[in-house]
């Protein structure tokens, strides 16, 4: 099929790698086993934990990386590469489509239960904690809407704001959809958003200066819609996330797929069952239709244990089944407390060299295979809040490495 690189998985790293490879002049094919874990992230791009704006904004990421252990993926990739990758992402047109704004350190947004959560960049009108301090807030809840926890959010942010009210409003579609995706589509179908917001305006507390909507204001047209809201209501309008998988993640998914499909291909519902190896080179992979797909290099961006790239057996063994790679197994079965078990599982993963190439259990190293994202070991995305950062950095970096490899 004349593809340069096969990318197995549907994670953010998979798309980043494909897009970067295209920039460098290489074709790729994403063999996606479903959608990626970034859909659970509510549109947040988490890069560097809860670190605030200390040590002068420009150096926050460097400082963070310097403080990490040497086996951490950020360290393997290298501080400069990580910074370059993150900047590349935020300057790329995929970020521009979503109007991600970033400040080279964390911004803080609100989680679905109202807690402060960092994000390295915020998409267009994503609620920023700074927007709510001492303000008069209205949280909009749509009638019949499930999975938007207005009460929990209100209870959490109460202490930071001046006044807060929750307003129940009727949905634009008479069907009164309960779930986020149908709500978002019904907003896209609105022929006149202004009329809809005009009717809401009558009910909002006059004192309110900030209106927080659930993040369902359209899948495709949300920039239009939220602008229309701000114009009609004459107040600042923001989106706060619903329970995942939430719409901001789906918007990002659409943009990523559109970008890849411009020149490359995505095989949806594709599962790789084995690989064909010869002389320390992977020649092809075989999918669940017995199709043999050849390429010159391979990236495995299939999400570690969470998304199926790595499996945990009933006796506690952790395995990577395609290449039988060496695994860092942190013995989660021996842990006493649940938070230890979680950490042990999260930090387990494939052991790679500094180019992100895995080493097999028989100590062979394949020259053209790379692992990225949650497949990697020695990092805990949920404690460090660095999930998307490692995805972007490892995806970008492995694409660069492949480019060097193929050039030789």
């Amino acid at each position: 099929m004349n593809t340069d690189v096969i990318i197995v998985g549907a994670e953010l790293d998979a798309f980043i790698a494909s897009i970067r490879l295209q920039e460098l002049g290489y074709t790729s094919r994403i063999l996606a086993n479903g959608k990626g874990s970034y859909l659970y992230s509510s549109g947040n791009i988490k890069v560097l934990d809860f670190k605030e704006n200390n040590n002068s904004g420009k150096k926050a990421l460097s400082f963070f990386i310097e403080g990490l252990p040497s086996e951490h993926p950020y360290k393997l990739i290298g501080k400069d590469n990580v910074k370059q990758a993150i900047e590349w992402f935020f300057n790329h047109q995929i970020s521009n489509k979503l109007r991600y704004k970033y400040f080279e350190t964390n911004s803080f947004t609100i989680s679905p239960i109202g807690l402060k959560i960092p994000s390295y960049g915020l998409y267009f009108n994503q609620i920023n904690f700074e927007n709510i301090y001492n303000k008069d807030i209205t949280i909009i809840k749509f009638q019949n809407q499930k999975d938007f926890h207005a009460e929990l959010i209100a209870q959490s942010i109460k202490q930071y704001v001046n006044t807060i009210e929750i307003l129940n409003v009727v949905q634009p579609d008479t069907n009164q959809h309960p779930d986020s995706s149908s709500l978002a589509i019904s907003f896209d179908n609105l022929s006149s958003p202004e009329n809809y917001f005009f009717n809401i305006n009558k009910k909002i507390n006059k004192k309110t200066s900030v209106v927080i909507f659930p993040a369902v204001l359209g899948l495709n047209k949300y920039i239009e819609i939220i602008r229309s809201a701000e114009k009609t209501l004459s107040k600042k309008c923001f989106e706060a996330p619903t329970l995942p998988p939430s719409i901001p993640g789906i918007r990002l998914n659409k943009i990523l797929e559109r970008e890849v499909l411009k020149k490359n291909y995505i095989h949806r519902g594709s599962h790789i069952l084995k690989a064909n190896i010869e002389n320390n080179k992977c020649l092809s992979v075989v999918d669940n239709f017995k199709r043999i797909i050849k390429a010159r290099a391979f990236i495995f961006a299939n999400g570690g244990i969470l998304m199926g790239g790595i499996k945990v057996k009933s006796n506690g063994a952790i395995v990577e089944e395609i290449f039988n790679s060496k695994i860092k197994n942190n013995n989660h079965t021996k842990c006493e407390k649940s938070y230890e078990t979680l950490n042990a599982l999260q930090t387990s993963g494939v052991i790679t060299d500094s180019k992100l190439k895995p080493i097999s259990n028989s100590n062979n190293q394949l020259e053209n295979v790379f692992f990225t994202g949650r497949n990697l070991s020695n990092w805990n995305p949920s404690l460090e809040l660095s999930g998307e950062g490692v995805s972007i950095a490892s995806g970008w970096y492995s694409a660069n490495n492949i480019s060097s490899y193929l050039n030789n």
């Binding site: 099929m1 004349n2 549907a10 094919r29 063999l31 086993n33 479903g34 959608k35 990626g36 874990s37 859909l39 659970y40 069907n175 009164q176 959809h177 309960p178 779930d179 986020s180 995706s181 149908s182 589509i185 896209d188 179908n189 995942p244 998988p245 789906i250 659409k254 559109r258 499909l261 291909y265 995505i266 095989h267 949806r268 519902g269 594709s270 599962h271 069952l273 999918d287 669940n288 239709f289 017995k290 199709r291 999400g303 998304m307 199926g308």
Partner: protein, 408 residues
């Protein structure tokens, strides 16, 4: 586990309910639950309900509204065979009380209707497209008056087949024409045969056979068993002469590839051989003849819009049509971002369900209006008829444009 099996059996399918982590990604992408509250979504009707179905007989209505598009299965990161689980629940093999409505019984037999209609095609077409008839059919047979009906083409395809000469120097390939080509879309079959002949094949057409997908999708499984056995027997004999079977319908080829084992448990070696020898025509051409064609395609002065049908995603083959079209010099090609056109095979023909189809198809209609193409391409028949009816723009099978570009 379903993933380890190339031909998962119905037991594998139902057991895959255990893989579900309730992530909800399937619900976010389901075209049906995104437009109507009547359908609770694939997660609910699939793995969730299955846990209760295995306890005792339930009286359910929710599975009926699934349109079988398979999008949920292709976005699921955990290999849950969601669509298949829901379709199992519709089956009349398990539910002795299941009633197949009269209209569904008719729709399940497109080959029979086709044969009858083609005795006097002009008369049949007149009746079929007559407003009064449509009104009567809607009142008494529950055939929705909006349903996109094709035209009978007489025995055009058969007559074309009679004129083909066999060249014993060429490789044989089997073309499973299917009900649509046999009775309504002769041009598609003719184009397919011309292209394959150009590529150096003797095309042996297996006509007058039905893959039984409408029966499988609607739950009329007892009848489906006989019908599919008939097809498999015929194709087994054909495989004595050829290695591969190609089809111009992504729905039919998917059924043969995966659904006989998943629904009817046809996991014997003969059925498996047929399943693994069957390919979609564009899938086949890309795999074997891409480079040959790359030098021979001529420019086409038409704005093209391609909609990959929902079934295509379940094939896991990426976008072979797009790969072929991109070989055409200076091609003006825009891609549909809609997952489903709404018609769902025979789903949208039934009175009461057509409204849902219309709502689903809205996004696609808007995209078409935006791109203003000269011709629309789609590789599944009822989708083509649906799109052409709604857009008023000529809608062809991609192989017809390929033929045009080859100037044969």
């Amino acid at each position: 586990m379903i993933i380890n099996s190339y031909q998962p059996s119905s037991e594998d399918i139902l057991k895959s309910m255990d893989n579900c982590t309730k992530c909800g990604i399937c619900n976010s992408y389901c075209p049906v639950s995104n437009v109507t509250n009547q359908f609770p979504g694939p997660k609910y009707s699939g793995p969730q309900s299955q846990r209760f179905r295995s306890l005792e007989d339930l009286v359910e209505i929710s599975p009926e509204l699934c349109n079988g598009c398979g999008v949920c299965m292709s976005v699921c990161p955990n290999e849950v065979a969601i669509t298949d689980i829901i379709t199992h629940a519709k089956s009349n093999l398990n539910n002795k009380n299941k009633k197949i409505s009269f209209i569904q019984t008719l729709l399940n037999r497109p080959d029979t209707i086709g044969k009858l209609g083609n005795i006097f095609p002009t008369l049949s077409n007149f009746i079929l497209h007559n407003n009064f008839f449509r009104y009567l059919a809607s009142q008494f047979f529950h055939l929705d008056s909006n349903a996109p009906l094709p035209s009978f083409h007489g025995k055009k395809f058969k007559k074309f087949l009679e004129k083909i000469k066999i060249d014993s120097n060429k490789t044989n390939i089997i073309y499973f024409s299917g009900c649509a080509v046999d009775n309504y879309d002769s041009e598609v079959g003719i184009a397919a045969i011309k292209v394959m002949s150009y590529l150096g094949y003797n095309v042996i057409a297996n006509t007058d056979l039905c893959c039984s997908l409408p029966m499988l999708s609607s739950g009329e499984w007892d009848a489906a068993i006989n019908r599919s056995k008939k097809l498999l027997n015929s194709l087994t004999r054909s495989l004595d002469f050829a290695e591969n079977i190609i089809s111009t319908s992504t729905s039919c080829s998917l059924t043969i590839k995966k659904k006989y084992s998943a629904y009817l448990n046809f996991t014997d070696p003969k059925s498996t051989q047929i399943s693994q020898s069957t390919k979609d025509i564009c899938e086949y051409i890309v795999e074997k003849h891409r480079d040959f064609l790359a030098k021979r395609m001529k420019a086409i002065d038409k704005k093209i819009f391609y909609h990959g049908p929902c079934q295509l995603q379940s094939h896991g083959i990426g976008q072979p049509v797009v790969e072929l079209l991109r070989l055409i010099p200076k091609i003006s090609l825009s891609l549909s971002e809609a997952d489903c056109c709404g018609i769902g095979g025979t789903y949208g023909y039934v009175k009461g369900r057509n409204e849902i189809s219309e709502l689903i198809g809205k996004s696609l209609s808007e995209q078409i209006k935006f791109h203003k193409p000269d011709v629309i391409l789609c590789d599944s028949e009822t989708c083509r008829w649906n799109i052409e009816k709604n857009s008023g723009i000529e809608t062809l099978h991609p192989i017809q444009i390929i033929l045009e570009s080859l100037n044969v």
